[in-house]
Each structure stands twice: as structure tokens, then as C-alpha cells.
């Protein structure tokens, strides 16, 4: 085993299948309720809260790790427009980078994932960058 997390830079560039997600009004309302988002459009389920893309979960072949050992270091989302109820979003996630760094807790692995979502015509709707820290 190369390092604690068992992830190597060979994973860089690897990506998920393209997955179609339908943005359901009920899922928006459930999400808004869970985070107590009072934005009227979100409470009604018309528009998704900005962090709703976190519900689009995909797997990347070969990328596995122990969830309980993962820290979410940072997250960014960029938006062309909000997600709306009824949207059909084509998403894909890829490994943008993997690197090791020594920190207070010893050797840690940083995993950078990039997600992109577009409409059925291929127009981008949002993109996101996740930094996960594996210890």
C-alpha cells in the first residue's frame, strides 16, 4: 500500500459515466426543509437551493475509500442559472487531482473532484469543485 488512503495519482483524469438526474419538486422541498432554507421559491419547490447539486451522486470507477476517514476540505459551485423543478441535468464527475501532503495529522491525501451539469442541449448549468481530505 503506497499511502494511508490507498489512492494514487493514476486516478487523475478518471471520470464517472454521464448520469441523467431529474430535478424533482419534492426533492427540492425536502432539501429546503432539511436545511431550513426560507427562500420562497425553494420552499415551494420551484427553484433548487444553491447547494442542491450535492444530491447528484456518482461513482468513479476505481475510486473507493473509507467514508469515515474523509474530511470535506472545501467546496465551490459556479452557476449559469439556478436549477428548476423539472430540469433534466446531465452530470459527470472527474478526478482533477490527487496529491499527498504532510499535515498536523500526518500524511494526508487530497482528492480534487470536478462535477459539471448541463441541460439536454449541452448548455452548462453549473459546475463544482470538491476538495476531500483523506487521513
Amino acid at each position: 500500500m503506497g499511502h494511508p488512503a490507498g489512492l494514487s495519482s493514476d486516478l487523475i483524469g478518471r471520470e464517472s459515466e454521464a448520469v441523467l438526474f431529474e430535478v424533482e419538486r419534492g426533492a427540492i422541498r425536502k432539501f429546503a426543509d432539511a436545511v431550513q432554507d426560507q427562500t420562497p421559491e425553494c420552499v415551494r419547490g420551484d427553484l433548487a437551493p444553491p447547494t442542491f447539486p450535492t444530491t447528484f451522486r456518482m461513482t468513479i470507477p476505481g475510486l473507493t475509500f473509507d467514508l469515515a476517514r474523509v474530511l470535506h476540505g472545501s467546496q465551490e459551485y459556479r452557476y449559469e442559472r439556478p436549477l428548476r423543478a423539472g430540469d433534466r441535468v446531465h452530470c459527470r464527475v472527474r478526478v482533477a487531482d490527487v496529491y499527498q501532503r504532510k499535515g498536523r495529522l500526518g500524511e494526508m491525501t487530497f482528492l480534487i473532484l470536478v462535477i459539471e451539469g448541463s441541460d439536454e442541449s449541452g448548455n452548462p448549468i453549473f459546475s463544482g469543485t470538491t476538495t476531500a481530505i483523506l487521513r
Binding site: 425536502k30 432554507d37 426560507q38 444553491p50 444530491t55 470535506h72 472545501s74 465551490e76 459551485y77 442559472r81
Partner: protein
């Protein structure tokens, strides 16, 4: 319902350094973490099961970092309207636990003018009841 908090503000109230109104959230509960796990699909048990959390050296369950980011997302919607959020970027710097109460705060870093009107570059953060910044970041919103 009134419109976004910042929409009608004159330029001079949105200059660099202007302090934004705060949004105080309700106290975080274990029930909320269970609901967030279900709504988001993040079933990492360190957020909902004390036994799992202790097994990895925590005192008990901690909130999903993304929950605090969701609070900041709502903050942007409240400030600028949900159609106007262009970017939100955060770092999760401190753990959040059930019982914590977070308040979203921020200030204007820069105001620029584009073809869509005014764009605000914001510094923003969520802080806990001890005024510790737990999630920090920056954002861009368009306002009319």
C-alpha cells in the same frame, strides 16, 4: 414577501467594505442531520451515529460541512435572490456540532458593473455562538 435584501440598495451602500445584514439560523439538531443525510444522500455515519463518530476519534456526531454551506447558499438567495447567485466557494475550517447555532455574515469585497447590472464580490462566513468562524468563503451575486 419583499424582494432580495440588497436589490434596491444604492451603490454607496454596497461599496467595498460594506457590512452585509446577518442571517441567523436555528440551532442545529441531530434530527436536522438525519434529515440532511436523507435529503442530500450523504450517509456518512459520522454525521448521524455517535458510535461511528467516536470510532474515528470524534466526541460525537458532527454536522455535514455542506449543511453550513447550504446556510450560506440561503444567505446569498436572501441577499440577492435565487436567480442571481453566480458562485459560492467555501472552506470548512471548524467542526459544527448539534446544539450549535450558526449565523451567516459577510461584507462586500468589490462591486463591479457588467452587462447584467451590478455584480458584488462578497466575503462571507458562518460563525457559531462563540463567534468562531466555522465555514468561510467568498461569492459572487448579481443585483439589479
Amino acid at each position: 414577501m419583499t424582494g432580495p435584501v440588497l436589490a434596491a440598495r444604492p451603490d454607496q451602500d454596497l461599496d467595498s467594505g460594506s457590512v452585509l445584514p446577518e442571517l441567523r439560523k436555528q440551532q442545529i439538531t441531530k434530527l436536522q442531520l438525519v434529515k440532511y443525510a436523507g435529503a442530500s444522500g450523504d450517509f456518512n455515519l459520522i454525521h448521524t451515529d455517535d458510535e461511528t463518530a467516536r470510532a474515528v476519534g470524534l466526541e460525537g456526531v458532527i454536522a455535514h460541512g455542506m449543511l453550513s454551506m447550504a446556510f450560506l447558499g440561503e444567505y446569498l438567495c436572501w441577499l440577492a435572490g435565487p436567480e442571481s447567485v453566480r458562485r459560492l466557494s467555501v472552506r470548512f475550517v471548524e467542526m459544527v456540532r448539534p446544539g450549535d447555532t450558526l449565523t451567516c455574515r459577510g461584507r462586500v469585497k468589490e462591486r463591479t458593473t457588467g452587462n447584467a447590472g451590478r455584480r458584488l464580490h462578497l466575503e462571507l462566513w458562518a460563525e457559531n455562538q462563540r463567534a468562531e468562524r466555522v465555514t468561510v468563503g467568498d461569492a459572487e451575486v448579481d443585483i439589479t
